[in-house]
Symmetry: D2
Subunit: 332 residues, 4 copies
């Protein structure tokens, strides 16, 4: 079927390619003309404005938006007056599910459908397919079934969920489920990262340790004498263990390429879903301490606890005269 894609970044461009492969007709637009040109070369119809995109579609129009959440709202506002009753906007980005609820309500009087599709799969989705979590009215979700079926991994499972896409509920439900998906993702990533970090420190007993009142002693250094091979350990866990996962597959691969991960500075971004997950937990009274801790670790990795840490050092100085150790002597 015919569909437009707005936002041709890593995700959007590959989704178009997957749709084209399957014979769907794609109209593509991005502020970067090179991104458009690359997909035109693959068989898409390129346009150079939002207006041209709308004009290139026959009704009912389907416009899939794949943009940073901070921009999506403005684009929807821009699109709305150009569309007609029966058209549909699909937001496949990482937007807050509340915006989907609000936008769907705002568009309903215009008889324009708003479908929120949480999309997981990253840069691998082109080949693996994308996991799609869908919210919106049933009729339009059903009309878009060929698109969802194409983007999802597929296979011969009996239900759409078995083939990688699911109509989760009314507007907002798709992004709500994707939000929780990403919240879980943060927790899983932190679990692997903490565990591997302990493995990396398993030789702590081979180092000499200061014997002063500011340094906790390591009482039994004989138990921390291991020089472990992290890339091999991540690899072996992929085979038959309880913690095998796709994230572990990727982690093993990353460690094989660069065992010390020198390519990274350790400033872990977060793009919003983990935050919203926690707000939902807080609102509904559901304990989520693991997911919270994982999110806050990311904030700390970017320096967010600096003032709090200085406060604790100031308190220690105030009550005990404790002087901070210099950086080189204050290893964990």
């Amino acid at each position: 079927m015919q569909i437009a894609m707005m936002g041709l970044g890593r995700m959007g461009a590959n989704m178009v390619r997957r749709l084209l492969r399957d014979g769907h007709q794609c109209v593509v637009y991005d502020v970067n003309p090179d991104s458009v040109a690359a997909l035109v070369a693959d068989g898409a119809t390129g346009v150079n404005s939002v207006e041209a995109m709308v004009a290139a579609l026959s009704g009912p129009r389907h416009i899939w938006i794949m943009l940073p959440t901070a921009i999506t709202g403005k684009v929807v506002d821009q699109l709305t007056p150009l569309l007609s009753a029966g058209d549909a906007i699909i937001d496949g980005g990482n937007s807050n599910y509340r915006e989907a609820i609000d936008r769907a309500a705002a568009l309903r009087p215009h008889n324009i459908a708003y479908v929120d599709v949480g999309t997981s799969g990253g840069v691998w989705g082109l080949d693996r397919g994308y996991c799609l979590m869908i919210g919106g009215d049933t009729d339009v979700v059903q009309r878009l079934d060929p698109v969802f079926a194409c983007l999802a991994p597929g296979g011969d499972g009996p239900t759409p969920a078995n083939r990688g896409y699911l109509h989760c509920g009314p507007s907002g439900a798709g992004h709500f489920v994707k939000m929780i998906h990403n919240g879980i993702e943060y927790g899983i990533m932190a679990a692997y990262a903490e565990g591997l970090n302990i493995l990396k420190g398993a030789n702590a007993g081979t180092e000499t340790r200061a014997a002063d009142a500011e340094t906790a002693p390591l009482s039994e250094p004989q138990y921390y004498q291991f020089d472990l091979n992290l890339p091999e350990i991540a690899e072996v866990w992929r085979h038959g263990s309880v913690i095998g996962s796709w994230l572990l597959d990727l982690t093993a691969d990353a460690l094989k390429t660069d065992p010390d991960l020198k390519a990274f500075g350790g400033r872990v971004s977060d793009s919003g879903e983990g935050r919203w997950t926690l707000k939902a937990a807080i609102d509904t009274g559901v304990p989520a301490p693991v997911l919270a801790t994982a999110l806050f670790d990311r904030f700390s990795s970017r320096g967010g606890s600096f003032f709090a840490d200085r406060l604790m050092s100031a308190m220690r100085y105030s009550f005990g005269g404790h002087i901070e150790k210099p950086a080189e002597d204050s290893k964990p």
Copy 2:
């Protein structure tokens, strides 16, 4: 090759079956004669005492112990005087890695090898194979290679790690790596559990809420009106998403069978490795807040925070005259 298995529970019995399938010769012993008989029926040689087990083996003997960690030590003490130089004990249970270090050192003067093998795979290992994390002297680990290769998932990967087993380092290294494996497992399980719990509460806005000073208000109930299908959501995440994993496969299956999980009371056991993981993190100064939180959640699930909770209620009463709400009115 010939090997004895002591402890024929869920794990031990299936490991014997996998070895027998591959043509290995297994001598089996358990305090429960029925467990022995079942494996004799499958082709194993059954014995009815530790002494008989030792006598049934030709040297160098290899005795694999698969017992609760609280019992393993006593069994090793019982075995030691019966063995000869060159023999080997393999501890495949969830013992503390420190015991492997200590036991290997204690057995070295007798020239008896002690190999610690962290074994993951659960009840599925019979078919999937077991992930094996091995610690011990290189010569005996190499001698046991046919056993490890048989128990592991196998395949045609270039290294043992690619086929599911890894010699991680000297005595203790195998159980150390398995310990961290389980610590990570706790974190991953908690991440899924917390996320799915939030999904379950996504209809909180449909319930009426008390408007008193002891109850936090839900300011925007319109955003919590979802009745989500958890079994289908767990299923869809298995296909193409970033959080796909074997644990998710099992979770989806469990939810399909029993969506409300009424078969379970929510008292989550822990068998030690998560505790030891944290002690290692603490000793070596590695932050592990996610793994800690996951462990402590298990303690709480079994009532461990009861006195702490009463203390907080007592404080609230003391400073603010706050009376505890009755159980039925104090939902989260």
Copy 3:
């Protein structure tokens, strides 16, 4: 000066008494006529409706609201049309600071001031005085200075902050600071509660422990043989230690009266500020893992993790065939 108080619960009634003692003129109203009568006996002017309250005040009117946050909004809506330019509403309850910002903005065109006053002190405030965190326009905050000075603890400190009240900033700033105050309070309470809970378990080594694969062994029971006197320990910490505090004073007193705290069921309420604190931390990217954990502990104390716990038991059963232990055998 003249001031009206609406909401004569534990906090409101005592605040009126403190104002009356100091010669202020108080008009009091509550839906419960007995609460009104009690304060009339102490010298207040009682009224039996919102309208009567407004009529009893000479302009510019000052009406202090001390109600559950879920009700405050409706009362403000009811009051607004009855008031005149120059009047002021003071919200001393635990409302969300965002509501203060929004209400102040909505009332500004009517030239009605809205002052948000975070009020800490609990049932002890009558004698100790209340700590007041104030947000709003400078002119009305200054006009109310005699009231704040009377309610606060006082003393001869050089600045209002030294005497227990502070104009923190524009509308919302008072409730924002009070919100964080309560967030910190949750963390401190949990710190004491966890520590005392460990002390209570210091005799764990005297109990026998199952030796099965579902139970983590206690390897060195000789180190957990203490029968500690918690009331005396809480008492001694009050004198000269680093953790002395008013909350500890209250805790010591509560433990002295009821060492096992049998009067409490351990369902710890939360009234909103801890939740909003975390949302502010999340919005602004500030790590708050301790405060989050403390909040989530309260949710768990009221059963909020029940489904998550069952999920973890279900996973353990799925991968390892682990059967939940019965309640009496599954102590932490």
Copy 4:
């Protein structure tokens, strides 16, 4: 009475001064002769070796050790052969309570008493008095009562606990209780630090924020426009609020002197007790997530999560092609 003090650092020296003030006879020793000389000037008897210290005491001797825990063991080994039956060693440092249990047992055959005294009060103890948590045999603890009564804050409370010292139980009980005291201290410090850190970030809405897929949007910046005065807020909380405490007194003072705490680098040391607290919680199955989080924050403040953070960035790059933002653009 007569007592020797070994280790004349911040704590030891002031304790001697407090004892001298009260007319006790003090023999003092330190590896630093200047520390000895300073106390001789105040009236103590100085010695220049362990042997001289023992010789200067009449029996039964009482030797109080105030040293880093990593050194205490060696000093006890050095002292033991020099002492006689009936003598007593008092360990007032932050040693692991397990060492007190072991040392008391080792010294019992020699009829030398070993008393463990957890000592809180920091540099302020000279004037305020020290909170003393005491473990050991009743007879020697009673014999030392004049020393404890002098060092403790005192006053006219009916029991020793009311005057600031407590015989908590047998050997180890004093350091066990002090260990938990410090674990609680970590939690309280973190609670204040996190809360004040959120206050510091309350103006986040005034900053411009990148609108890219790596940056979580701040959807309602109008609610984060506060420029709060942290020194004044800490001060006001000291007066009448629920979170008043001695640590808050010190914090308010530190913020008044240096509002941005530029004197500190934010590398927060830990000296062991917080670690041991958690191990005790883990051993005994008591949930302590707040105390754990507080400890792990200290590890992170010293760089302990660096590898874990790089791992998470590596995973994000692997699954989503996410590139780390440069340091200046990756604020929390």
